[in-house]
């Protein structure tokens, strides 16, 4: 029985200087990721200014998608990514909830777009500021994604790609929550294309990074 002895040697070496192994905490990961993105967001809002009618817009029921969906998506995705740090974790109700939120951000806009007269489609999609929104959102989310992934490495996700994707989504949705305070575009078509597009891009980036960085 040679091999078991070798394994016992391994165990002896692992346990010889074993130190306490405290559980990873969620709060520092969240705070560090937020801190990584906040300076850029504040600078951007200072440079571009808040939207003039912010107080009225934020309470307008027809703009719920713009002010409520991004924080809701961010919170759900962050919760899911943190939960998956435990290897045995299941997403449970978070998965359908997240899908419902993503659908709520996409489907009304696409539905409206499909029913617009063809000459009104391009203006609805492009708005007045179209590509800048996507660029800003991805740019704001980039550093927080890297920070969040390095925090999640303390966990043991058995689905590294999914964990990374959720982290990317959470960071992009957080950026969108802040950027919405400036953004003057109120059309759900615009939101479905550019906001949700940025969320998808960041999710994919997180997924690809996570596959490598979160594997163990």
């Amino acid at each position: 029985m040679k091999t078991p002895m070798k394994t016992n040697d391994l165990i002896a070496s692992l346990t010889h200087r074993a130190e306490a192994a405290p559980a990873p905490e969620a709060a520092p990961i969240l705070l560090r990721s937020l801190a990584a993105g906040l300076p850029a967001l504040v600078l951007l809002l200072l440079a571009l200014g808040l939207r003039a009618d912010l107080a009225a817009a934020i309470t307008a029921p027809q703009l719920w998608h713009k002010f409520l969906l991004p924080p809701a998506i961010a919170a759900t995705a962050a919760l899911a990514a943190l939960r998956l740090m435990r290897p045995e974790a299941r997403l449970g109700a978070l998965a359908p909830l997240l899908l419902a939120l993503l659908a709520a951000g996409t489907l009304p806009g696409l539905w409206r777009l499909a029913h617009l007269p063809s000459e009104a489609m391009a203006p609805a999609v492009m708005g007045k500021t179209a590509p800048q929104c996507l660029v800003f959102l991805v740019g704001l989310a980039a550093i927080p994604i890297v920070t969040a992934l390095s925090g999640l490495r303390a966990g043991a996700s058995t689905r590294p790609g999914l964990s990374g994707g959720l982290a990317g989504l959470a960071c992009a949705a957080t950026a969108a929550s802040g950027y919405a305070l400036h953004c003057p575009e109120d059309d759900p078509v615009f939101f479905a294309i550019w906001y949700m597009g940025a969320l998808v891009l960041c999710t994919l980036a997180g997924l690809m990074l996570g596959r490598r960085r979160l594997a163990w």
């Binding site: 091999t3 394994t7 391994l10 346990t15 200087r17 405290p22 045995e88």
Partner: protein, 182 residues
């Protein structure tokens, strides 16, 4: 007698609080379970390759032991870690896509021997031929991974005296084992 989940959970709880001896007992108890699963699913691998996979899983348990929440059930955590690493290793070794049902682990855990592996029993037989004080020093230092300083404190000996006693005991054991124990 089989390893109960409760015993394992208590051991890992103590281990994660910094108890090296409990940690050693935990890993020694888990190893035969892992071995059963790996041997059952990786029949195309030779024994050495199977043992490498077992060691991969032990290392992963070591690196990720803090992700078990002390108030959570242990089995699902252990299965998830083992399954992830076994699947990973089998993919790397070209065993192919793996169907690794949780029942494998449950069955292995039910039928696992008590935490008293063969190696430890051999050692016990040898240690029985030493005087009790030397035997307890060897057991603490080499089987349970206790620091010599801690052993000294426990037996009210200086650390140097423990080292000397340990050295003498190991030489004596080498003679008893016919020169095979280094």
């Amino acid at each position: 007698m089989s390893v109960t989940e409760q015993t394992l959970a208590e051991l890992l709880r103590a281990a994660n609080a910094g108890d090296g001896q409990a940690y050693a007992r935990f890993l020694l108890a888990v190893t035969p379970v892992l071995r059963t699963v790996v041997q059952g699913r990786g029949r195309v691998l030779d024994r050495a390759a199977q043992e490498d996979v077992v060691q991969d899983v032990l290392l992963a348990i070591h690196m990720k032991r803090h992700t078990w929440r002390a108030d959570a059930p242990l089995k699902p955590w252990l299965y998830a870690v083992a399954r992830y690493k076994v699947a990973d290793a089998f993919r790397r070794l070209g065993v192919g896509r793996l169907h690794l049902p949780l029942e494998d682990f449950a069955d292995a855990l039910e039928s696992a021997p008590a935490p008293e592996p063969l190696a430890a029993r051999d050692a016990d037989r040898l240690l029985g031929q030493l005087d009790p004080r030397s035997a307890s020093i060897v057991r603490a230092a080499h089987l349970e991974g206790e620091e010599t300083a801690a052993i000294g404190a426990r037996l009210s000996m200086s650390e140097g005296a423990v080292r000397v006693a340990l050295h003498r005991a190991m030489k004596r054991l080498a003679v008893l084992a016919g020169g095979k124990v280094s």
